[in-house]
Symmetry: C2
Subunit: 101 residues, 2 copies
Amino acid sequence: MFAALSHPVRRDLLSALLDGPETAQSLADRYAMARPSVAEHLKVLRDVGLVSERQAGRNRFYSLTPEPLTLLREWLEPYEQFWRGRVSRLATLLEMDASHD
Amino acid sequence: MFAALSHPVRRDLLSALLDGPETAQSLADRYAMARPSVAEHLKVLRDVGLVSERQAGRNRFYSLTPEPLTLLREWLEPYEQFWRGRVSRLATLLEMDASHD
DNA sequence: ACAATACGTAGGAATTTTCCTACATGTCAA
DNA sequence: TTGACATGTAGGAAAATTCCTACGTATTGT
């Protein structure tokens, strides 16, 4: 998951699919890269379940399946708690400080 | 940021720092890897601002500075909206279906 | 001053990732 | 059927990442 998101082209592909499904071809046209390279990036995204494909004649439509991103959200949680903890400790300190003036 | 999080050892280091600051040494002791390798991972995390260091004599304490993770949270947002959108469209369909029985 | 400890970094080997050019397959249109 | 399009994959070069040992520097305790 994290590895799949580590490449800017792959994040860009996901972002492109936010507007709806697109064919492999039209996705590839967005980049200076050769088409097969984009196909490999799509494969990485497919392997972690972030996109799914639907064959339609000689086109293949890719669409976004963001469910696996809930893992990322869950991973993030302890760090957000950590962050809130720090803020509230700071607030406590400020209160203590305010109390002796 | 995404690249910094792509390596399991680096994610583990962040996780270790949730419990509070630690010296480079004690962090390195957690892994089978040689200490300088861990030091390089710490450097990557430092470069993206996810950890900060405080020199204390011959020890160097690392602590978690999770602020940059807000970028991740922001990145995630459109995908969560996308997801909610899909769920609500599904709900609409189910309602429509329920209405003709 | 000297030895030991804690640490970062240089240099390089091994591995992985990225990206390319073929190439093979399946589909459509004439 | 034949030719053009859409696509995935194989094979390999190039680039990046990872991890090691060796080394340099600063600090501490004796």
